[in-house]
């Protein structure tokens, strides 16, 4: 058993937790972040990549709109490398009510969200695949953001201030003494070791899992209602700006160009278990239909991958519990002292990725207030160490990089232009990582072939690097392909079906991966 002692334990390694641990560390507290899987593996890694301008909420949720507009400007500065300033359009589809655009413009003015109506012809010239029947177009400052880079950037910044980031550490128990949080127990899933962390404060940032964490401390149930949303990535950028339907928020109303793909999203269905998110066939079809309204021919374009994420919405009495879209996207801090008679713990829920820094500021402010201390938040003022220093991301970056090192280095993932050195460097930093852990940082296997050509190369290189043995190599490859498959089968048609058939011939036919020797003992992934 390992023992640690820190001022604050942050639970949850999504955007909220990463933002919180950075803020806590920057205010001078000793802190540790616990995440049961990899950073950004839950909700944060399963959204569409939109950095909101605030436009989406100018009519339905004005407070969120203003917050988004402010945070958009901050994030594109302090985490420039994770953000692409694509710009965005709100367009009135052929069958949409054109008068919503008037409400939109009025809402934007009232909430401080920069927005300007432009001639339809201009929108069509800049985004030639857009439906030529659109009736109005409003330009906004939407951007796109890589959720994993965002989280890792915040985590690395926190480390710089002394925080410890413990991934694959699953919280098992929270001790309380005399109505006050005293320690957090967790298990290191990579080696089975138990870890006990003495602490005076727990910040529960577990998103859809926040209710489960609160219950461990004996609090009354926290009604987090996971709202499931599915998304489908299309094989290339059908648009180069974010394109939103200019309607009251609905399903499938956003098409987001992020990295090399464009992502259509999303749905919103109340679910009970955030660990069990189905990708329903009818919802996939709904996304294609919605895409067809924005970009005619969308159904014939190649879909690469589908996935589902769970929104961490806090129950709000204003609307029916079954309608999660219209619950407040605003964040809520739950004070367990007044609610449960439990000192030393706060839970945060709601919010959205764009406002993750602000959420962190709120919950850490609340903590300082409870501790009777005045420590000022500085997270908006300081650029992140790595990605904050450079320019904003643009989609040509990797092509540009490979142009310069292509004669000296191999390209392992051809679709996403990942070089051998990128892979071996990341592996050396995370020798116990799975290929999915590396994928989230490198985009390994996220392009059109979905790992068909790169995953076996990566496996061979990892084995040759001696970070892993042959049994682990086999299991890592199998796990990677299995996880890719989860997102493939719901969209198997057209061009992606051909690819999958070819990949299957390679793995089942040539490599006979199903019948590789099984490991003699269990391989801990």
């Amino acid at each position: 058993m390992r023992k640690l002692a820190v001022d604050v334990v942050v639970i949850g390694g999504g955007s909220t937790g990463a933002g919180v641990v950075r803020d806590v560390a920057m205010r001078g507290y000793s802190t540790v972040l616990l995440e049961r899987a990899d950073l950004g593996q839950g909700t944060t890694g399963r959204f569409h990549g939109l950095l909101h301008s605030g436009g989406r909420y100018v009519v339905s949720d004005p407070l969120s709109a203003t917050e988004c507009a402010q945070e958009n400007a901050i994030l594109s500065r302090i985490q420039a490398g994770a953000v692409e300033m694509t710009g965005g359009y709100f367009v009135t589809g052929p069958d949409d009510d054109p008068s919503f655009a008037d409400k939109f413009l009025a809402g934007a003015a009232a909430t401080g969200v920069p927005a300007q109506e432009i001639p339809v012809a201009e929108a069509l010239r800049n985004e030639p695949r857009l439906n030529r029947g659109i009736k109005r177009a409003i330009e906004v400052l939407d951007g796109t953001v890589d959720g994993w880079q965002l989280v890792w950037g915040a985590a690395n910044s926190a480390r710089h201030y002394g925080a410890q980031i413990l991934t694959y550490h699953k919280v098992t128990k929270i001790d309380t003494v005399d109505g006050h949080v005293a320690a957090v127990h967790c298990t290191d899933l990579k080696n089975g070791e138990d870890v006990v962390i003495e602490t005076g404060f727990v910040l529960n940032c577990a998103g859809p899992w926040a209710g489960q964490i609160a219950a461990m401390a004996g609090a009354h149930p926290v009604d987090v209602i996971p709202g499931r949303g599915i998304m489908v990535a299309m094989s290339h950028r059908l648009v180069n700006r974010v394109v939103n339907r200019c309607i009251y928020p609905a399903d499938g109303d956003i098409l987001v160009p992020v990295h090399t793909v464009s992502i259509i999203g999303t749905t919103d269905v109340k679910v009970d278990d955030p660990d069990n998110l189905a990708i329903e066939a009818n919802e996939v079809q709904q996304m294609f239909d919605a895409g067809e309204v924005l970009v005619p021919g969308f159904r014939k374009a190649r879909a690469l991958h589908a996935w589902a994420g769970a929104r961490p919405l806090i129950k709000d009495n204003r609307v029916a519990a079954t309608d999660t879209r219209h619950m407040s996207r605003g964040m809520a801090v739950i004070d367990h002292t007044t609610r449960d008679g439990l000192d030393g713990m706060l839970t945060i829920g709601g919010g959205k990725l764009t406002t993750y820094r602000l959420m962190a500021e709120h919950i850490v402010d609340a903590m300082c207030e409870k501790l009777g201390e005045k420590r000022v938040c500085r997270t908006a003022d300081e650029d992140m160490p790595v990605e904050g220093a450079g320019p904003n991301y643009v989609v040509t970056h990797r092509l540009h990089d490979r142009e310069h090192d292509r004669l000296d280095d191999q390209i392992i993932c051809e679709c996403e232009l990942m070089s051998r050195k990128m892979f071996t460097d990341a592996l050396a930093e995370q020798p116990k990582g799975t290929f999915d852990d590396l994928r989230r940082q490198l985009r390994l296997g996220m392009g059109p072939c979905q790992g068909g050509f790169c995953s076996m190369r990566a496996t061979g290189i990892a084995l040759a690097s001696e970070h892993i043995d042959i049994e682990r190599a086999t299991e890592l490859l199998r796990l990677f392909l299995k996880n890719r498959w989860i997102g493939l089968w719901p969209i198997l048609h057209g061009e992606q079906l051909r690819q999958t058939a070819l990949d299957n011939w390679i793995f089942a036919g040539t490599l006979d991966i199903e019948h590789l020797p099984a490991a003699e003992s269990e391989v801990v992934l």
Partner: protein
């Protein structure tokens, strides 16, 4: 629709075709350029892969090592328009810093007009080492690159000044398209084509005709190329509706049939009309033969000749009609080169920085030609003939040359 080629290049149907790529790598194994130099990253890399990283701009300057031979598109089993994607990306990339050289060598009509009146001088100049060294230094055309052979008389001059053929023309009229090279430099090919057509009983109409714009297109000058190709369509249509247009210029035919539309996005009824009416000279003869309408009373030619089917012809998807027609000539042994490309790819192999690459691409072909015959080689397109002749030392002619002879016309 999109008449501005560059605008089209940013969002074309070719880009949509990248969805069909399954990464099989067949194009990479067949690319003649990637096979001889690491400077070109290969068609899959530059085409369907890199295209996903382009947002209306091309940062991968090495794509300019693509010779646009079109082999990748031809061999792709999934229908990805790889060569077209590359041509479009190159045009976008070069748009704001087009080298003077690339603007000049696209001006084929200008070259012909300047050189014909002073053919002996031009010929001497193009064979003069010091002058070529200056050319290489100033306009970056390699000093050893093949140059068009200047002629004292243009085809048009010959056609107008010769005695008007009396007829009769039992097979009716056809339009003849010779291209700029066939007008100014490959005058003999054009003459022989006309004479064969007339021998067969066609009344040959030769409208005044300009350039198809191919050389500009392959150098990324879409605006000028689009203007030229549409002007040419008007020229050819002026000769009469619904007439078959027979062409002895394989590469220009490809431009009219598919490249202007697929690479530059020219959507125009005139182009569609001409593109569906134009037919390669040798394909025209093969069609006649297959219909039982080609006289096959050829005189024997006891000779062994290498034949090379150029990329631009292969990309039209018409097979290798010259091979089949030539094989009708008794005693003539025609050996298919089996080579992918001669390297020249229009103007690619002329350029100082590409010359060595183009020579390496063509080397298997040059070796094959030399090993097969020291006398004569055959090939359907002009710049390929110049390249083969210059690099192998073997005289290289259009296949019509032997057809003309076998009919006893020369």
């Amino acid at each position: 629709m999109a008449t501005d080629g560059l605008e089209f290049a940013g969002h074309s149907l070719s880009r949509a075709s990248l969805d069909a790529c399954v990464k099989c790598t067949i194009c990479e194994t067949q690319c003649p350029v990637a096979a001889v130099t690491p400077l070109f990253s290969g068609p899959k890399y530059v085409g369907p892969q890199a295209e996903r990283f382009r947002n209306g701009e091309s940062v991968d300057h090495s794509l300019d090592y693509c010779s646009s031979c079109g082999t990748c598109t031809l061999v792709c089993p999934q229908g990805v328009q790889i060569a077209e994607l590359n041509s479009q990306a190159r045009a976008v990339m070069k748009a704001d810093h087009m080298p003077l050289r690339d603007k000049l060598i696209g001006q084929t009509v200008l070259m012909g007009k300047v050189m014909t009146p002073v053919a002996p001088i031009a010929k001497a100049a193009l064979n003069n080492k010091p002058i070529r060294k200056v050319m290489e230094a100033v306009v970056k055309v390699h000093e050893d690159a093949p140059m068009p052979p200047p002629q004292s008389q243009t085809f048009e001059g010959w056609f107008r000044k010769r005695p008007t053929p009396a007829g009769p023309f039992p097979r009716g009229p056809v339009v003849f398209f010779h291209g700029c090279a066939g007008g100014y430099f490959e005058v003999e090919t054009s003459k022989k084509s006309v004479e064969v057509l007339e021998y067969l009983g066609y009344q040959v109409i030769v409208p005044k005709q300009g350039c198809c714009g191919l050389a500009q297109q392959s150098n990324g000058l879409f605006k000028g190329a689009t203007k030229d190709v549409l002007k040419l369509c008007d020229d050819l249509r002026s000769a009469g509706k619904d007439l078959t247009i027979v062409s002895s210029s394989g590469s220009c035919t490809g431009m009219l049939k598919h490249e202007a539309h697929e690479i530059m996005g020219v959507e125009d009824e005139r182009l569609k009309d001409v593109g569906t009416r134009i037919v390669d000279m040798m394909e025209f003869l093969l069609d006649l033969h297959e219909a039982g309408e080609l006289p096959t009373d050829f005189a024997p030619i006891g000779m062994k000749v290498p034949y090379h089917a150029p990329c631009q012809l292969k990309s039209q998807g018409i097979g290798k009609p010259a091979l089949e027609v030539l094989r009708l000539i008794p005693d003539l042994e025609v050996v298919d080169s089996g080579a992918v490309c001669c390297g020249i790819a229009g103007t690619y192999g002329l350029k100082k920085e590409k010359y060595e690459v183009a020579q390496a691409v063509g080397k298997p072909l040059f070796d094959m030609v030399k090993a097969t015959s020291s006398e004569l080689a055959l090939c359907d397109t002009e710049t390929c003939r110049w390249q083969i002749q210059k690099s192998s030392g073997v005289r290289t002619e259009h296949p019509i040359y032997l057809i003309h002879r076998a009919y006893g016309l020369s």
